[in-house]
């Protein structure tokens, strides 16, 4: 327990923790504040204006449709369309946007998870990388020579601390968005089922944040320097994403988007991601004769398994190296 206490104190004393986390929270607060500022509560006057605009737009469209029918007569080919429907012209479409907490909060989990994943990657990498680079790890091992226990404790403490910080950030994020719902929209319709769905999204977000933290930790541990993790991240973004995108598009790899990290992040957070290969010369037809471009469905389980596998491999190499390599 003493090592856990020491590592926890070390984590929260670190300059990077004291800077990067508040910067991450500041980003979230800024985004939430912009959302707050650009939404407004629907007043009766605004609704009346919206209704009037919707009615005017509907009438406009009806006139246009009737003129069209008059002009083409029997030759009209409108595919069975019976003209504009009043129900398609809703007052909300012509009113200043209001924040619907139930509809929008779930979609915005991705923002929190993405920003905190970036923070977590940095914190995870520097927590062990700076220790190696500064010689503090060697110093610590002269106190606690059980290397596996030392690295395992560091990883556990880092993950728990990052989880704690992420939950605090989520609290702040939720608080501002809830205020936006209360003051600039609505918080109605929040049934237990909706909250359960939010909870599961938050858990997936937290899982993603922790995987990024562990990945940064593992890479920095293998390279014994924070720079290796950051370099690997940069290489993945530049070579793995931009480079592969250009290459795969050039050689027309079907469903090339499946090799992009953001696609898997979307799939993980939104439960699934459907890719459509519009460049394919072949179409897929069902029994009714409807033909569409080929599709590929990536589920959150697919993306989660790939990410988990990658992190497990990186951590396994990091721990194996910790056991085997001389420390000099």
């Amino acid at each position: 327990m003493s090592l856990v206490r020491a590592e926890r104190r070390r984590f929260f004393k670190r300059r990077l923790t004291r800077w990067v986390f508040p910067i991450g929270v500041l980003l979230l607060v800024t985004i939430a504040s912009i959302l707050f500022a650009f939404h407004s509560k629907p007043t009766p006057e605004a609704r009346a204006r919206g209704e009037a605009t919707a009615e005017a737009m509907y009438q406009d469209q009806v006139r246009e449709y009737e003129r069209y029918k008059r002009e083409c007569g029997d030759k009209c080919n409108d595919g069975g369309w019976t003209g504009p429907q009043r129900s398609d012209f809703r007052a909300e479409h012509y009113m200043p946007p209001s924040f619907d907490f139930k509809a929008q909060y779930g979609e915005l989990f991705l923002v929190w998870a993405a920003i905190m994943a970036m923070v977590a990657f940095l914190l995870g990498a520097s927590f062990v990388g700076a220790e190696w680079a500064s010689g503090s790890m060697m110093n610590l091992l002269t106190w606690r020579p059980k290397r596996m226990k030392v690295l395992g404790t560091k990883l556990t403490v880092m993950l728990l601390s990052v989880a704690g910080l992420s939950i605090v950030a989520l609290g702040i994020w939720t608080g501002i968005l809830w205020a936006a719902g209360e003051l600039r929209g609505t918080t109605e319709g929040l049934t237990p089922g909706v909250w359960q769905s939010f909870g599961l999204s938050a858990l997936r977000g937290l899982g993603m944040i922790l995987l990024f933290a562990a990945l940064g930790f593992g890479l920095a541990s293998i390279g014994r320097h924070t720079g290796l993790a950051l370099g690997a991240a940069l290489a993945v973004v530049i070579v793995g994403q931009v480079g592969l995108t250009i290459l795969f598009q050039m050689i027309r790899v079907p469903f090339w988007e499946q090799y992009l990290v953001p696609i898997h992040i979307f799939a993980w957070m939104n439960k699934e991601m459907k890719l459509v290969d519009y460049s394919s010369p072949e179409m897929v037809c069902d029994t009714a004769g409807n033909c569409n471009a080929p599709e590929l469905l990536i589920t959150w389980q697919d993306s989660g398994s790939i990410a988990l596998g990658l992190v497990v491999v990186v951590l396994a190499v990091a721990f194996w190296q910790m056991r085997r390599r001389d420390i000099s």
Binding site: S2, L3, R5, A6, E7, R9, R10, K13, R14, R15, A130, S134, G135, S136, M138, N139, L140, L141, T142, W143, R144, P145, K146, D326, I327, S328
Partner: protein, 330 residues
């Protein structure tokens, strides 16, 4: 006396681009309880590898090591609480204060926080304990490193170049501290290149060259074993020096004549020299054995004495034959 530290047949080879490099080649070392033991060797001789191997940071290829009777590295976790160490110049997080640095180590070692002030006081850093380490001079960082090693109140203290960066006052304080700690029963292993300091502080020494022990034992015995047995002779009247040389050569002595004195070799009874010269009215003003200091012995044993006009490579030192006779008094 009880051996606090025992090393036998320690071997370690590093894989390097230019081929394997043998850092330790059957190295041996014994340190008895309560001693201040000097650990000397030229750069690249294997000192730091030895210390790191003892502390479990480097895995040896073969050999036996024991600290306080505990076999290493298997039982290192059991004995590590009794071993305080600094290896080379330990780096600390520059943005932590000295107190934070020691406090975190105390937590990691499950030690009471009261030890932190005690250690800071001992190395003279208490007044500056709340300042960030990045504002410290090299000497102050070195003091902090020593404080971190003392935090455990260890039975065996291993210090690699503790005087590095210290001012003359600091070196003297460090020397006094070693003496005090040793008097209190702590065994100190001190690696340093300041040989004068080692000669002053240490009870015994081990000298290593290219991974092998070249000498070991009490400082006085090592010096004695490697002194030349030569005698320096000067006369009241320097003009009589050549006459004295003729007398001594005629008496069967080997000697070298210098401008103001003679150096004689293989003299069993110095009194005989004085008597022989006095019989010819040649009166001796100086008749002293030529004693070697630790620096001389070190340079001789490791073959690292500078030669005018030559540049010595780091690895260019003496590798002794591996025999049980290596060293003295072991």
């Amino acid at each position: 006396m009880t051996a606090v530290l025992e090393i036998q047949g320690l071997r370690k080879t590093y894989r390097a681009r230019g081929g394997p490099r043998r850092a330790l080649d059957g190295f041996e070392m014994y340190v008895e309880a309560g001693q201040v033991h000097g650990f000397l060797g030229p750069n690249g001789s294997g000192k730091t590898t030895t210390l790191r191997t003892l502390l479990g940071l480097i895995k040896p290829d073969s050999g036996e090591m024991r600290i306080l009777g505990h076999e290493l590295p298997r039982l290192l976790p059991e004995v590590v609480g009794k071993v305080g160490a600094i290896v080379e110049s330990p780096q600390f997080f520059g943005h932590f204060t000295a107190r934070d640095t020691l406090s975190l180590l105390a937590d990691a070692g499950n030690l009471p926080q009261s030890r932190v002030d005690w250690a800071l006081e001992l190395v003279g850093l208490r007044e500056r304990a709340k300042e960030r380490v990045k504002t410290y001079s090299l000497g102050m960082k070195q003091r902090l490193a020593v404080a971190s090693a003392l935090l455990k109140q260890p039975k065996l203290l291993i210090l690699d170049e503790p005087a590095n960066g210290l001012d003359p006052g600091g070196i003297r304080e460090m020397r006094d501290m070693m003496a005090t700690l040793s008097a209190g029963g702590m065994t100190v292993v001190l690696s340093s290149h300041i040989l004068g300091e080692i000669q002053l502080i240490c009870d015994s020494v081990t000298i290593i060259s290219l991974g092998r022990r070249v000498a070991a034992g009490p400082v006085a015995e090592v010096l004695q074993a490697h002194s030349s047995g030569q005698l320096r002779v000067a006369l009241e009247t320097p003009a009589d020096l050549s006459a004295a040389a003729q007398v001594l050569v005629a008496g069967g002595f080997d000697l070298q004549a210098h401008e103001d004195y003679l150096i004689m070799s293989g003299v069993d009874k110095p009194a005989l020299v004085a008597r022989l010269l006095a019989e010819r009215q040649l009166y001796v003003s100086e008749l002293t054995p030529v004693t070697a200091d630790l620096e001389d012995v070190f340079l001789e044993l490791t073959g690292t004495a500078p030669v005018p006009g030559q540049v010595r490579s780091v690895d260019q030192s003496v590798r002794p034959e591996l025999t049980p006779q290596n060293g003295v008094g072991a």
